[in-house]
């Protein structure tokens, strides 16, 4: 079997006394869409942030395409922090999309997408902007290149944020509740861009409350509750006959909500 895109081994994350993630073991296969679902406070966003190295795990290890992220831990649990430039190198294999978009307000859409190419990859300005335009076209926003974030709708901002992450040609895209900050009528355009990405074979890890999206696009669904990974498997298994009582309860809440919206 090939190396998984991401391997998480015995990952623990504590904030002071509080354990947010407890012994997470998970492999994310290459070219698949992996959805992390679970109630608020289950630790799913923290897990994703560990994958982006925005949070440093307390113990355990993450490898991206077989390369250790941030820390190397040997079999005896001895842990060593890797040098900063190596951390940066491994991190650039992933691109991240945030719930709050986090576009830089003082730069245009084109500026947001081309900035890291110019600054980090040292691509000449003209070429960087050309490559940024390719990404903006991909998310359907080439005609908004000169707009500042505040001149764009939430859905458009999130699509620019996706283009910004894609511009660095990551192997893996991480999405942290990408539609939670959007008005319901704007979620569709973002989910469509994500569907397109998935169909191109991008490896994606998506923390989401969009159970519909997870069910239709997700190829691996992982359910977290109270910092533990309770279930991970193909959607057919998880949605057809949920076996874990907590999972059943969680999905029921969503179904209830959907039903009450229809009533």
């Amino acid at each position: 079997m090939s190396v998984p895109a991401i391997a998480i081994r015995k990952l623990v994350k504590r904030f002071g006394e509080t354990t947010v993630l407890q012994d997470i073991d998970l492999e994310i296969p290459e070219g698949k869409v992996s959805c992390l679902i679970g109630p608020s406070g289950s630790g799913k966003s923290t897990l994703l942030r560990c994958l982006a190295f925005l949070e440093e795990a307390t113990s355990g290890m993450i490898t991206i395409n077989g390369e250790a992220l941030g820390f190397f831990e040997d079999a005896n649990g001895r842990r060593e922090r890797l040098p900063a430039n190596q951390i940066r190198a491994v991190r650039t294999k992933t691109g991240m999309v945030f719930q709050q978009f986090n576009l830089w307000p003082h730069m245009t859409a084109l500026g947001n997408v081309s900035e890291a190419l110019k600054l980090v990859r040292k691509v000449p300005k003209a070429e960087a902007e050309e490559r940024a335009m390719v990404q903006l076209r991909k998310v359907g926003l080439e005609n908004r290149a000169g707009h500042y974030p505040s001149q764009l709708s939430g859905g458009q901002q999130q699509r620019v944020a996706i283009a910004r992450a894609l511009a660095l040609e990551p192997k893996i895209m991480l999405f942290d509740e990408p539609t939670s900050a959007l008005d319901p009528e704007l979620t569709g355009e973002v989910l469509n861009v994500m569907r397109d990405l998935a169909s191109e074979g991008m490896t994606m890890v998506v923390v989401t409350h969009e159970i519909g999206f997870a069910a239709s696009v997700g190829q691996q669904i992982s359910f977290l509750d109270h910092g533990r990974l309770l279930f991970s498997g193909p959607p057919a298994e998880i949605f057809a006959k949920p076996r874990h009582p907590r999972l059943e309860q969680f999905l029921d809440t969503y179904l209830d909500r959907g039903a009450s919206m229809l009533a």
């Binding site: 190295f53 925005l54 991190r91 709050q100 307000p105 003082h106 890291a116 600054l119 980090v120 505040s150």
Partner: protein, 213 residues
């Protein structure tokens, strides 16, 4: 009040303006370095920066100017009055500007820094391209305010032998026995200069906003 007297005041206004603008610019650079130090998270940089800020905010500018003017020659550095004036004003405004900037930096949403972080920016790149420009936009009105304060405070540099508006007005008043028209003219010149700074500031603020609103 003859045109000749008014011309003398205007000439003195040039030194007020020159000293103030140079000091504000130097002070801004120092303030940026101080904010970078305060944000570094390393106490080896934070503590000296804090000490600097509390000293220059806590001691009257007049005393600072006299201290610089008299202290430097003692340790073998002979400085002309103009240098002492610019050093004094720069260090003082640096402390105030650093405090303003610190507030601005603290208001930069952490998510914007995380976005730079995941894109592979180094700490310095994030500071220069993300944190500083955003903090600057947030603190711009306070910086304009500080420029006006410094321009007015520059009247104190007469103590180190600089002839600027206030000193010139005093000299002219005592030699011509016409204090009221002369001081009124001095007030008018300050008022016009500072109104111009405020207007320019508002204009710049609008165009900065235009670029992000």
């Amino acid at each position: 009040m003859t045109p000749k007297l008014f011309t003398l005041l205007l000439e003195a206004a040039l030194s007020t303006l020159g000293i103030s603008l140079v000091s504000i610019a130097i002070g801004f650079v120092i303030a940026m370095l101080l904010s970078a130090a305060l944000l570094s998270g390393k106490s080896i940089y934070i503590l000296p920066a804090r000490l600097f800020i509390s000293f220059f905010r806590g001691v009257p500018l007049l005393v600072q100017l006299l201290l610089i003017y008299t202290l430097l020659p003692v340790i073998g550095i002979n400085v002309p009055g103009i240098v002492a004036a610019i050093v004094g004003l720069s260090l003082c405004t640096a402390a105030y500007q650093a405090e303003n900037l610190r507030g601005g930096f603290a208001s930069v949403p952490p998510g914007l820094i995380e976005a730079a972080d995941v894109a592979g920016f180094t700490g310095a790149q994030t500071f220069i391209r993300i944190r500083a420009p955003i903090a600057l936009r947030l603190t711009f009105p306070a910086l304009v305010n500080e420029a006006i304060m410094i321009l007015k405070s520059s009247s104190l540099v007469s103590v180190v032998g600089i002839i600027e508006i206030t000193k010139m007005a005093q000299d002219l008043a005592s030699s011509t026995y016409q204090p009221i028209p002369i001081f009124a003219s001095a007030a008018l010149i300050y008022f016009v200069i500072n109104s111009a700074i405020a207007l320019l500031g508002r204009y710049a603020e609008r165009s900065l906003k235009g670029a992000s609103a």
